[in-house]
């Protein structure tokens, strides 16, 4: 959603959140079920217990995403929700764009954009609406601030059609 004076608001669409809720729920049931309904060895209990916590934590993070929004302007990017983060583009210190896929041929994956400034960081998944707009703005800020981007980040920006000229490439 675009507001006046170059401000736009971005949220995670319901379809993406529903998928994550289902994943969290299925995970909790599959790992918590045996804990509740079958006697398990201490080792198995520990492993299953940790997995239940991980899936429940993921469900909680998904709920936090549902009530949050990201506001993008020419001056800053801010995250509104239970934890509020505001990053000034001029003070941006680090930009990382990573790609994840669970398939063998690396297709059908998703991206994750991580921005850091002044000890605060903001992580966004590519399922958020208007991700391309946010990524374009982040790449522009990286170029303005002459940030060094990793080769993976530059390659991933290129896959989105964004050409980065920021600093030198380093590492992965």
């Amino acid at each position: 959603m675009t507001l006046g004076s170059g401000l736009s608001v971005h949220r995670y669409p319901r379809r993406a959140l529903t998928g994550d809720y289902v994943r969290a729920g299925v995970g909790v049931v599959l790992t918590g079920g045996p804990l509740l309904f079958a006697p398990t060895a201490p080792m198995a209990s520990a492993v299953l217990g940790v997995l239940v916590l991980v899936f429940a934590g993921f469900g909680a993070i998904t709920a936090m995403r549902q009530v949050s929004s990201v506001r993008l302007s020419d001056e800053e990017i801010s995250h509104w929700g239970l934890n509020r983060v505001r990053l000034d583009w001029r003070k941006l210190e680090s930009v990382k764009l990573r790609y994840f896929s669970t398939r063998h041929d690396h297709s059908g994956g998703w991206m994750q954009l991580r921005l850091s400034a002044g000890g605060r960081s903001l992580t966004l998944e590519s399922s958020i609406d208007g991700f391309l707009e946010i990524a374009t703005r982040a790449a522009a800020a990286a170029e303005t601030n002459r940030l060094r981007l990793s080769r993976a980040t530059i390659g991933n920006f290129a896959a989105l059609g964004i050409v980065c000229r920021a600093g030198d490439a380093h590492g992965n």
Partner: protein, 332 residues
């Protein structure tokens, strides 16, 4: 990263369930069961078979129950740390495989260490000194290592170890120490015997790794960023270690998936030739005698390790190389 790990974990759980079903079906596939094999064995030796006793045993081990019930009993037993009962050894599977797991892990861990320690410097040297005498010599040795059958190398090394160092033939320790409790003497004996299986099992893996590392590194060394780094005056050692070598390591990280189960399976044929008290020969014997819970436990443990190993390697690759592949599909 959390989202990625959740996706991967959610793939792991049904995979393990599917594997457990497949393993159970495989160990049930041969006609009959352990008791039928046992009866046939007794009859071939001309001994009488007590039908009542067989019926009692069949009932006691649950072999008369429907397959689906046997499967669920087995799976819930696994969750409780009960791997079942070995008919052949008349002992719980946990007790049967306990010591063997330790020795198998020792042999396999030493083999992996040997492989990495030998293969890395040779692979890097071969790639950075391409077409030199050293490269040709090491390549020749590599092909020799790949082409030599492990069991043949095992026999040759056993002979030389016995003739030159007086090491007893076969096994992982001197025969008089086999049933003794662990002591310095026993540990030293194990170390004295260990190098033969380590070299035998590790040779082909080392040769294969040298070839792959050399090929991957050569690919990377010819890329433009390396030329640019060189032109900018980066010291050769730093340039090599920081960029091309890191990129060339990706296939080895992906190999963790197969490394973990290999650590516990123990090369079966070589273990038979060397009379090693490891898992491989016991798995073979369990499959032949239809000792279903023993064989099933081995297969299930290995399957779990493969799934966990692939998970670990995928996570490591996601951390080290989170790039999109252009031949792949679109980002979500």
């Amino acid at each position: 990263m959390l989202v990625y790990s959740i996706h991967r974990l959610l793939i792991m759980i049904p995979t393990l369930l599917a594997i457990s079903v497949i393993v159970f079906i495989i160990i049930q596939l041969p006609p009959g069961d352990y008791l039928s094999t046992y009866i046939a064995e007794l009859q071939s030796q001309g001994e009488a078979v007590n039908a009542d006793k067989i019926a009692f045993l069949r009932e006691q081990y649950g072999l008369d129950r429907p397959l689906i019930e046997q499967y669920f009993r087995w799976v819930f037993g696994l969750l409780q740390g009960d791997l079942g009962y070995s008919f052949e050894f008349n002992l719980p599977v946990n007790q049967v495989i306990g010591d063997r797991m330790l020795l198998t892990f020792l042999v396999s861990f030493a083999t992996v260490l040997f492989t990495y320690i030998v293969a890395f410097p040779i692979g890097v040297y071969s790639a950075t000194h391409q077409y030199s005498w050293g490269d040709y010599g090491l390549t020749f040795l590599g092909f020799l290592g790949l082409a030599t059958p492990s069991f043949l190398l095992a026999l040759v090394l056993l002979y030389f170890a016995n003739v030159m160092f007086g090491t007893s033939i076969g096994g992982l320790m001197d025969p008089e120490l086999i049933d003794q409790p662990w002591s310095w003497e026993k540990l030293l004996s194990v170390l004295e015997h260990l190098w033969v299986p380590v070299v035998v099992i590790g040779t082909s893996g080392t040769a294969a790794m040298v070839r792959r590392l050399r090929a991957n590194l050569l690919d990377e060394l010819q890329k433009q960023y390396v030329v640019t780094g060189r032109a900018k005056g980066l010291p050769p050692g730093r340039l090599l270690l920081k960029y091309p070598l890191r990129m060339a390591l990706n296939p080895f990280i992906a190999d963790i998936g197969t490394l973990l189960p290999a650590m516990l399976s123990g090369a079966a044929i070589v273990s038979v030739v060397l009379s090693l008290p490891t898992n491989g020969p016991m798995l073979l014997s369990a499959l032949r005698s239809q000792d279903m819970y023993l064989a099933g436990s081995f297969l299930m443990i290995e399957a779990c390790l493969i799934v966990v190993g692939v998970f670990v390697s995928d996570m490591a690759l996601a951390v080290l190389d989170p790039r999109i592949r252009f031949h792949g599909g679109q980002a979500r």
